[in-house]
Amino acid sequence: MIQLDNVSKRYRRKQVLDPFSLTIQEGSSIGIIGPNGAGKSTFLKLIASLEKPSKGALSYEGQPYKQVVKRVRSAIGYVPQDIALYEELTVGQQIAFWKKLEKTKVDDDFLKRMVETLRLDEVMDQPVGQLSGGWKRKVNLCVGLLKNPSICLLDEPTAGVDLAAKEDIIAWLKELHQQGKTLLYISHDWYELRKLSDEYLLFAEKRPVFQGTETALIRQKEELLQSFDEQKDLRRILQHL
């Protein structure tokens, strides 16, 4: 269980997240939605311990992040929005490199299953730089989840990905959820969100404004749209419900 208590984030002059509190239950699969610039990526980085909150505190299993940061980092797999890979290395070398950096022992069966589901064997010997966007995303995902983490944070794992690759990724994430892992992923695609999420977290105007099931979201839709009148993007996101 991860708790955020009155957390806010500010970069120098820019306030990115206004204070908010929320709880993430173990084993939940949460789809994070919201307009661009609402602070979704920053939210994931806070949970991943890659950024520190300006105010407030996070806790993992009841203990403050500051005290258990190593345990947090062991438990968390993070897939960044950008492709954070060495373009020169082949897919095989890439996986081997990150595996070597890993302090705890990598579960080879898990890795094998992931490579299989994402069909990465097909491109094992190709340099990452020469792959298409879809393949790069899949490798990016694979490296992020290499250590078989119990909490998976995914920042737009299917952005700019072709349909076939998207299906592979959804299948794999579904499997992870079934294994009981906690999933948090940012997406703009309702097809994918509906297949994976049992809960939604809606960001608007620098903070999460809704957390709950799809039914609850539909019930509150009009109210939300009225409160955030000027947010045209929000209307576009929610119109599909």
């Binding site: 954070a84 950096l101 302090k103």
Partner: protein, 340 residues
Amino acid sequence: MLTYLSLHLNKWRKRPFVILLLAFPLLCTFLLYPFFENTAGETAVPIAVVDEDQSDDSRTVTDRVEDSGRVRLVSQATRAEAETDVQKGAVEAAFIIEKGFQASIRQGEVNEVITWIRNENSALDVFAKEAFGAELMRLALNAKAAVIVEQETETSFEEVFQYSDQFWEPEPLFQVSVTERSPQQPEREEPQLQSWQVTVLQLFFLYAWLLAIFFLYEVTKDENSGRLARIKLIQKTTASYFFAHFVIFAFIGLISYILPLNGLFFLSETPQDLMAAWNIHGIIVAALTFIVTWCLFMAFGKKRWAVYILMLIAVSSFIFTITQTGFTDLWPHQWLLINQ
């Protein structure tokens, strides 16, 4: 540590010109050295020679000393003229090849056959003294061997002399001192590098420093692409990442300075002591410079602009030191020098 090293080696293997960058100054040294050497020849030490013997052997000695390249011989007719030149400082020293030179050395007699005249300011003439001594000894020993062999066999003196002469190439084994006549014997000065060599060394250092800074660009790329964040999560801390990258950074700098430095020393046949001194001093100054550079880079927040600022600092250090214009005590290029 090794994981990061093999990562970079892997990258560089695919772009061989990166390896070339490391060896570039060394290559330049070997290609351009003949050019520098010729320019330097004009600044060779001027030495007066008076040949009072006018024999084959006396001519052989002067020719060979001349060919050794470090001195420029100025012929003088009389001992008096040579002494005046030394007094005036027109030449660093004078060597008089005494009458009866050839006869003496063909007997194997090397004492008091050449007189060395210098004044209290003479310093760089020791090269010439050593060269004369070496040639003298070579001729005398050959002669001695020839006399012995001639007694036992029927070969002529000339044949044996020629034959034994071959064994002297390329360097004589030891050197003899010649009779010295100097009003006040000055302290013998430590040999120093020539000023063009010092400038070239400073260029090498600039190159090495810039190349090392250029490597920091890789760190900024890791930071900007999110790979560093990934490393932070996977390794729990970035300490070993930064340690490994500092080591590679410093290694690139040190290698690309030390390689051409010794290449130059090798080509210019610099004495061992001098070589060791410049190497040790160079490694210490370079290591300190790289530590400070690294700390600045970290303090600047590993940003791309920091790389440009650091390159600017390196170039400033070189220019300000070479031209002796500003804050000269501050620049690594100044610390690099040994009592020049």
